[in-house]
């Protein structure tokens, strides 16, 4: 794309076409790239056949199809972005609430308190807003690299403070990976140095599994890593303003879990799962 001349008519056409599609921003970008490439490829082949520039542009746009018809077709065939969004947020929200309810009981033997729900709900609203309007909006890989380094310095400082001056490289290494379930949770819930790293590895692994032809895997790794660590950082920051230690812990945990699930749960996965469940119930009812 960068080596070929830019054709204003194509760029404008695609922009107007994509604008009214009911898709998530990322999906819109993917569709935009794919269609733009298609227009330019078609244009090149027509020019090779000897057509004039203006003639070729006109022909490409005509053959691509009526804008309104394409929009209608795409909007009908893709599930609504709003519906998908609500589905995903609902699943993540329910999982976070369940974790907030059972977590304190399992980890510190606490009895149920109403604030397990109220604190988690407030934290969820904050997590949603921070993710949607801050963390997710940043998807430039260069900024992700700089941001990741700055955020990691903060978390490393936290970890170092726990050990004081006695922190060695071996100790640091031992807190980067574990498969021991007992080490993954503590009195602070999931807010353990090793746990936030293990979750990070899962998010990175997910980028290799996820199929996306338009953004290279390494870019997705960098961006999702930044988004995850940024959520953690803001979660810790907001926890400082809570009225008690218990609220702070719940706040941080909801942020950690929310950030993790955002990168590991997919709408496609949810749809397949719900279809399987409904098929199972259907078979049982027969």
């Amino acid at each position: 794309m960068s080596t070929q001349e830019s054709i204003k008519q194509f760029d404008d056409y695609i922009k107007r076409l994509v604008r009214d599609l009911h898709l998530e921003e990322e999906e819109k970008r993917e569709v935009e790239e794919e269609w733009t490439q298609h227009l330019y490829d078609h244009y090149s082949s027509l020019q090779k056949q000897g057509l004039e520039k203006s003639e070729a542009i006109q022909s490409v746009l005509e053959q691509f199809g009526d804008m309104q018809m394409i929009q209608t077709e795409v909007n009908q065939s893709y599930p609504s972005a709003i519906k998908s969004h609500i589905q995903k947020e609902s699943v993540i929200g329910v999982l976070c609430i369940i974790a907030s309810l059972i977590g304190p009981m399992i980890l510190i033997g606490a009895y149920f308190q109403p604030y397990f729900i109220s604190a988690s709900l407030i934290a969820l609203v904050f997590a949603y807003l921070v993710h949607r309007f801050i963390a997710k909006r940043q998807s430039d890989w260069r900024l992700s690299v700089i941001g990741l380094i700055a955020i990691y310095v903060f978390f490393f400082q936290l970890f170092k403070r726990m050990y004081g001056s006695s922190l060695s490289l071996d100790q640091y290494g031992a807190h980067l990976f574990t498969l021991d379930w007992n080490r993954l949770t503590g009195s602070g819930g999931l807010f353990e140095f090793v746990t936030i790293h293990m979750m990070w590895y899962v998010i990175i692994a997910m980028q290799f599994i996820t199929i996306n032809n338009y953004t290279p895997t390494w870019k997705r790794i960098l961006n999702s890593s930044f988004q995850y660590w940024a959520m953690l950082l803001i979660g810790v920051f907001l926890a400082m303003f809570q009225s008690s230690g218990e609220w702070s812990v719940l706040f941080i945990n909801v942020f950690i879990l929310y950030a993790f699930l955002q990168h590991t749960i997919s709408i496609k996965g949810i749809t397949i799962f719900s279809q399987k469940v409904s098929r199972m119930f259907y078979r049982q009812s027969l």
């Binding site: 309007f133 801050i134 963390a135 909006r137 940043q138 998807s139 430039d140 260069r142 900024l143 700089i146 941001g147 700055a150 955020i151 310095v153 903060f154 400082q157 936290l158 403070r161 726990m162 602070g188 807010f191 940024a230 950082l233 803001i234 810790v236 920051f237 926890a239 400082m240 303003f241 809570q242 009225s243 008690s244 230690g245 609220w247 702070s248 812990v249 941080i252």
Partner: protein
């Protein structure tokens, strides 16, 4: 370039938070030992509610006070007062050791038993969450 433009504001916001949160010092809060007698009745009664092993804090006269109650034959060695280990709020790190009798401690008849009181007056008002981290455990 489009992504860079779109991401710059959220990025700067995150960096601002990272800058605020990054510890450029050790986060230590200065304190002095305060006397129980200097407190008004309301605060004294609040302290009396606890027993050995209890901790608490309150605000009075433009400062935060933190107190630790031990068995009458024990004393507290304060190791650190300042930013908490987990980065959330502040804490007192301390050790409880046997009192060899050399240190005079204030013994209080609390509602939950007699205890030796260690009362710290912090240099400023410190918001919650505020933790008590006993290094003996």
């Amino acid at each position: 370039m489009k992504e860079l433009k779109r991401g710059i504001v959220p990025f700067l916001l995150v960096m601002l938070v990272a800058f605020i949160m990054t510890d450029f010092g050790d986060g230590e809060i200065k304190y002095i030992m305060a006397s129980y007698e200097s407190l008004p009745d309301q605060q004294r009664n609040f302290i009396k509610e606890i027993g050995p092993g209890g901790t608490g804090m309150f605000q009075h006269d433009g400062s935060s006070y933190a107190f630790i109650a031990t068995e009458p034959d024990e004393k507290v060695e304060v190791l650190f007062v300042g930013k908490a280990e987990d980065g959330v709020g502040n804490e007192v790190k301390y050790k409880v050791v046997k009192n060899d009798g050399a240190d005079d401690t204030k013994i209080i008849d609390g509602r939950m038993g007699r205890f030796a009181l260690y009362l710290l007056r912090l240099e400023k008002v410190v918001p919650t969450p505020f933790g008590f981290n006993n290094q003996n455990h």
